[in-house]
């Protein structure tokens, strides 16, 4: 779908913020962009959504419906949250009543403090971020781009955001987000691009097209008296999710890493209770995320 080829960016005659970036984002992908402060994550996202033009290279295949949440949504307007969302919906081609209904629904799910009639300038950072999220989801996006969406959001909104991401991916949309926290990117994203010194590298994970190549591994303590050694499963390569199901541990592992993970489990005295190749269904991923959160 969205393809970046040899994209470079610099402002004026300054240093290259991004250099020779090649990326591909397909429908159904949930990908993270990770990197330090000032590494160019936001610049990359702005190029992808068409806000910024690359100095060199091309971006092709940009879909028609893009949802974008900027890193800071400073709101000084006197306009109310629901009125703002209605206007944004109209700008996206919705009818006023449909936009208002969708806006109310999204704000309700996000539990906006102050209610939908609170004016934007009275909202706290987290609540303004919720409005920013809602505007990006008024129309089901083909590409949802979120610049540090978790910053400022409370714990309950984290879960709702995870649901939104899953819903967008389940509808065939691609989701791309940035965050500094490894735990969040690992839990939420199927794969990650890392930015370092302007270079973007594919750090691991899977694209949506390889969804079916997942293995569900159910591990339990062996029937003998031997106690298995605790392992930090999430640090193993290819492990997308690790959740407890009663006494057992359920791992979702990329197919190419399943043998290694299985070997590690056996070496640490774990017993295999079940093993199945699965499709990476977004719904089950959402459940796992909620459990992890």
């Amino acid at each position: 779908m969205l393809r970046c080829e040899a994209v470079g960016k610099r402002y004026g005659g300054g240093r290259w913020v991004l250099h020779d970036v090649n990326m591909q984002v397909s429908g159904g992908d949930v990908l993270a962009v990770v990197g330090g402060n000032g590494s160019g994550k936001s610049t990359l996202l702005r190029i992808l959504v068409g806000l910024s033009r690359p100095t060199s290279g091309t971006v092709s295949g940009r879909p028609p419906h893009i949802g974008y949440v900027p890193d800071r949504f400073t709101a000084h307007d006197r306009i109310s949250a629901i009125s703002y969302l209605t206007h944004m919906g109209r700008i996206r081609g919705m009818s006023a009543s449909a936009a208002r209904a969708r806006g109310n629904h999204l704000l309700e799910r996000l539990s906006l403090v102050g209610g939908p009639n609170a004016s934007l300038r009275t909202l706290s950072k987290g609540n303004a971020q919720k409005v920013a999220l809602a505007q990006a989801l008024l129309v089901q996006p083909d590409l949802l781009v979120l610049d540090e969406p978790w910053s400022g959001l409370d714990a309950s909104a984290h879960g709702v955001l995870a649901e939104f991401i899953d819903e967008a991916a389940a509808q065939g949309g691609a989701v791309l987000f940035t965050d500094h926290r490894e735990a969040i990117t690992e839990t939420q994203a199927g794969g990650a691009y890392a930015i370092n010194n302007g270079q973007v590298t594919w750090r691991g994970g899977r694209h949506a097209r390889s969804r079916t190549s997942m293995v569900e591994l159910v591990l339990a303590a062996p029937p003998t008296d031997v106690r298995p050694v605790e392992v930090n499963w999430r640090t193993l390569p290819g492990v997308v999710n690790a959740t407890r199901r009663g006494e057992a541990i359920v791992l979702r592992v990329a197919r190419e890493h399943s043998d290694t993970v299985l070997l590690t489990a056996l070496q640490h005295q774990w017993s295999v209770e079940g093993l199945a190749g699965t499709a990476d269904e977004p719904g089950s991923r959402a459940d796992a995320k909620r459990a992890a959160l």
Partner: protein, 218 residues
């Protein structure tokens, strides 16, 4: 596009940043046209002069309202930078049309004038000529082009002065000079239409320059 214009109009309305240019316009029109007994062409020339200043101010205020993150959201929602820029121009045009209506009626209330259709048409043309030119100046001096609004303000004053006194170059100067020296509005209707078209060309150029510089900076 209508949705964009509606949003831009609402945001400027709620911000109350329109108040200062509106009051300036009403004040200038009142001072320049009260107890005026001359021909209406000259009266409307004075009103058009006030429109030049206020349309530039309204444009700069409207563009300056949106901070970068808000504008980013609107650009992504609307689909392109150009659509948002045209939405801003459309919203300013709505404000200017409202001012034009006030500029047509106020002199009739303040002075002993008997307006004809030609006078009202001329008044509309003259004010729109100045509104288009003022909007072009406002765009070029807006935050989209200049981050430092101090410099932008100085440039805006220079450009507005040039539009008023630029003999033979500025459509505003050519039009205002003609209107001052005519007694019958019908005589200058056609030439004012030409200046209106020239001002529309200025506005198009203003949009193109602003868009080019804005894209280059991003």
């Amino acid at each position: 596009m209508i949705a964009l214009i509606r949003y831009m109009f609402t945001v400027l309305l709620l911000s109350q940043r329109y108040l200062a240019p509106l009051l300036l316009f009403l004040g200038l029109v009142t001072v320049l046209t009260s107890s005026d007994t001359g021909p209406l062409a000259a009266t409307y020339a004075a009103v058009a002069g006030a429109m030049l200043l206020c349309s530039a101010w309204l444009t700069m205020a409207s563009v300056g309202l949106e901070d970068q993150s808000h504008r980013s959201v609107i650009v992504v929602s609307a689909g392109s930078h150009l659509r948002v820029l045209l939405g801003t121009v459309g919203a300013v045009a709505v404000w200017c049309l409202m001012l034009t209506a006030a500029g047509l009626v106020l002199p009739l209330m303040l002075g002993p004038h008997v307006p004809g259709l030609a006078d009202l048409t001329l008044g509309t043309e003259a004010q729109l000529t100045c509104a288009f030119t003022g909007t072009a100046v406002g765009l070029i001096c807006s935050r989209l082009v200049f981050r430092r609004q101090g410099y932008a303000l100085v440039l805006a004053l220079v450009l507005l002065l040039a539009a008023l006194v630029g003999k033979g170059v500025s459509p505003v100067n050519i039009m205002l000079t003609r209107l001052q020296n005519v007694s019958n509005s019908t005589d200058v209707l056609v030439s004012t239409s030409v200046q209106l078209i020239a001002a529309a060309g200025f506005l198009t150029a203003g949009v193109a320059i602003t868009q080019a510089i804005n894209l280059r900076k991003r």
